[in-house]
Symmetry: C3
């Protein structure tokens, strides 16, 4: 596995992946997973392999896509909890570390961990011989989401180098934005427009990383200012579950961070609109869903949706890790 993941034992942070591995190993395998799915291939390459799924914090896409990917490839989920904080002995005060060490004693081929505090996946990895996949750690990272985002961008724009992207919303706590920004550091000439209210700006450590990796970025509060310039809109929700207060996206005093008809009118014809979902009020769905550029969920025709990219990427990751 170590070779297949370019020396990585665990999947913790987006910046750990190499561009070479992403382009030459992961994306081709992901294409293969799409082809396999479209063919209805029922082979079981992961027969006998064991996954453990531990989630603290609600999840639909991440949990469902890892579970479905694992089982569709013939693997087994030997232990699973919908809330490791509530249903495991963590409710009695057990540490995350003891939880992970225990599961290591029992054995498995991979542990998928969603945790509700930044650094959870790294703490788990520090005591685990079993590969840990960080499925989101509080306001930290969500590396497999970033990989799928990148894959969907590549599919639609046929390149990553040189693209312009607006990353919009709660940039302080949105972990998918953090992970994706780190990945752009691996590519050339990406230009990022961070669009958020003043109190939800991107964190300094990410800016420093981008500076170090020669990624140009700009900050604004109004998506209308940049709408005509970007190839990708990456909208994100307000992380109310991590403590951000809801705010009016179209109220000028907060800036303007909603995507609606007005933005579509300004946007390039061949741009795409992404959103890691779930979506509440930050996209006016009735106006935007019918547009061909909206690819965050079900698409018109057979364009790949971001959601669909998610299952192919996770199938590919599990295959590379376990086969």
């Amino acid at each position: 596995m170590e070779k297949r993941f370019g020396g990585l034992k665990h999947i913790l942070r987006a910046q750990d992946f190499s561009r070479k591995w992403i382009e030459e190993v992961l994306f081709p395998k992901t294409d293969e997973m799409e082809a396999r799915t479209l063919k209805g291939d029922r082979g079981q390459p992961l027969f006998g392999k064991e996954m453990i799924s531990l989630f603290a914090g609600e999840s639909l896409r991440t949990r469902a896509s890892f579970n479905i990917a694992m089982k569709r490839l013939g693997g087994e989920i030997t232990f699973e909890t919908e809330d490791v904080r509530k249903f495991s002995s963590m409710a009695k005060g057990e540490s995350l570390e003891d939880t992970i060490i225990t599961l290591n004693e029992y054995g498995a081929d991979v542990i998928v961990l969603r945790y509700d505090e930044e650094g959870g996946a790294e703490r788990a990895a520090a005591v685990s011989d079993i590969p840990i996949i960080n499925a989101g750690d509080g306001g930290g990272q969500h590396p497999t989401q970033a990989l799928l985002d990148l894959y969907v961008i590549q599919k639609h724009l046929n390149r990553i180098d040189g693209i312009s992207i607006a990353m919009i919303g709660d940039l302080e706590k949105g972990r998918t934005v953090h992970s994706l920004a780190y990945l752009f550091g691996k590519f050339d000439g990406v230009k990022i427009y961070f669009v958020s209210p003043d109190n939800l700006k991107i964190k300094p450590d990410i800016k420093e990383y981008l500076n170090r990796h020669n990624v140009r970025f700009f900050e604004t509060k109004d998506v209308r200012e940049v709408a005509s310039k970007v190839d990708v809109f990456y909208q994100t929700r307000t992380q109310t579950n991590l403590g951000t207060k809801p705010f009016d996206r179209a109220d000028e005093k907060n800036g303007f961070t909603v995507i609606n008809k007005q933005i579509l009118d300004l946007a390039k014809k061949d741009s795409i609109i992404l959103h890691p979902l779930p979506c509440t009020d930050e996209i006016v769905r009735s106006e935007v869903d019918p547009d061909r550029r909206a690819v965050y969920i079900k698409t018109k025709g057979d364009r790949m949706s971001q959601v669909k990219g998610g299952i192919y990427i996770r199938m590919a990751i599990l295959w590379l890790l376990l086969f």
Copy 2:
């Protein structure tokens, strides 16, 4: 599948089934499932098939029987949640529709949905290419329960046409009563006695349906009045989880809607007592359980229990849908 289900894509409402399909397709397949189970057949006709199980609202029988049926036939449950409201992104404000669309993108052969609001299954079906099975939607319907109820009646009485049935309890909110009443509209000469306190009477839309389908029905508050006339007692619980206040079933000012020794003494020798369960105080279990006519749970001898009918019906439904 469409042919097998008489043109139905989803299983949403009891009234959508045709009598012909019930009698000529479903019931024979259900008999086959019983025979297969008694033989201990371990074949895996549904190998490679994928079910998703989404429940909002507590369930034992419906969830367990669908899960067990699917796995016993060799199918896989690729994603499952015990509380889609709490553990999926619906907890972050995601709509039911986006949840279902997402799972469609991932793919599955069937989605079993218990929802806590009337109309949930229809909303899901409106955006789903994957067949949705309504496993209960708030105070709405529970069509597979109605099918199993009908199957068990047929097994014990050897007919549906012309039977007399008392449907007792919280008729306003009890969705199993609604679904079963709709099914009776497909048969001839069924006579229904609705027995409930004044404030929990059956809804007008169901009465209109029955009138349109020439099903005779009568309303009363006292099960003693009808006990000697009916072939089937269909007792139901007070839907406290949907807002009905608990009340004394034997307190005359509410009518009389408990089943006890007194009712057994009045009842026909070959009548049967059904209850979709769970049961709290609406059957005096110590008096009624030992009676041969009580078939809602474990029965004396090898009479088919209503509970057991539940797993055979769900095996049959999954087989017809997926094989």
Copy 3:
């Protein structure tokens, strides 16, 4: 199965096992499970077998090890709930008995039940033809934990007869202590030191049992008094979830019931420290974990950890019960 379990139909209480069965059937099978695991054997002896897992009350080790054991041996978990109180119809007032009878109607080969009230497993067994495994019942028993504890003691000390053991902590509510104490009644010359604050002493019924079976026991409040005499330290946590108030383990007015460097210095070189886990503050982990005698979780070298013994014992139990 009855023969394999020495006449037992259900696994409810530690005192029901015979020494002969433990030594001649269970332990050799457990060794075989270890060997099988170390070899990476992927055979599926339990293919087609069905387990139901019902938990009320948080669990990591018990639930995970039964689930992993079952699936690793090729069996299936056909229905599972993380909180039978909350997600099944028990939330609507259904009794434990009706829940178990219902699942009997559906069928399974074994039901693993964690319940939050003493006697839960016995109530379940009273209405179940399917074997019930008591996976802990409130302040009652936890027989499979006791078996694994005994197995790990045997592995490290190469004997059970004649050992001295300190059982430390919340002896009133700690069900693992109860079950293990009952098992010692099957062996010769075991000496038990019960170490607890005055208000958390072992219950009279267990003392009577030990007297009847000629097991010598002593009670004290200070583990330092007995540390140099024992072969096994069996530390347990304060059962705050069952109502015990947290207390300072090293505050002299409560006695002294913590395990730390001071205890290690007093302890025999070849003694072992056990703990059924989870562990909060009753072991000073930074001081004790690095010690070779600490075998409750990950061990130095290839000594068997107590945690690891848990999965081998449960594999053996399921094999003996179902194969």
